[in-house]
Amino acid sequence: MAVTVTIPTALRQYAGGHASITLPAGSVGQILATLREQYPQLGKQLYNDQGALRSFVNVYVGDEDIRHLQGVETHVADGETVSIIPAIAGGVMVLHGERCTVNVRYGWKECCYAASHALQ
């Protein structure tokens, strides 16, 4: 009775370099708890200080987000796969409340300077 947990590339450094880990079947919460025990550094990436899954960490069972199932109570049957998937988002810098474009208030060079300055 085992399930496979896939680890995203960026987090494998916290999981002994493994791309996937085989763990006993159970609920998602039980499986992730076992994962945390085995790899505490990975646990810190997945859970916040209050012990809740971080908002930017997505957990899927098969093709379904556990948020649309029973959350951490979702049962994972023998042979199924649990995927840990990072959320990635972003967007360009807003300069003084205006979007930074060459066509409006700020020129391209000013944009480059401001963006570089903000990065430091």
């Binding site: 960026a10 990072p86 972003g90 810098m93 391209w108």
Partner: protein, 153 residues
Amino acid sequence: MIILTGDVHHAIARHAEEIYPNECVGLLLGRIAGMRTEVEDVFPAPNRWTAEVGLTPTDADHSQRDRFYLDPRDYLRADRAANARGLDVVGCYHSHPDHPAVPSPRDLTGAQAIGSGSRFVFLIQSVHRGHAAELTAWLLVDDGARFVAEEMR
């Protein structure tokens, strides 16, 4: 060192120009070997940003012209496509329409799931008046506190 092989550079530029004036997003498929991240292919994804997936309430004032969101389902599809070819998802890319190819504070916030210290690379494609301009590479460091530029060829 980031190594872009084959048509990767042009594929990102084409995607960014096609989606302009919106921001494009996609994943990078390849291999990480020591300090080298080799990108062999791209996996273009839809920009699924909406106000509902915004990072703060003020995001309602924005659009896909200055925001992007990579849906986890698309990440999962990319991961499976990579694995089928013996590759991994080794990074992501997005465009900055009419904006320099440097990470924004919002990019930093939206990258926190990646954790720092890995060779997972963030590529940014600047698009200037509809034409692809500079492409830059960045790694997340200092416990996710900042990006540093990474050499790329």
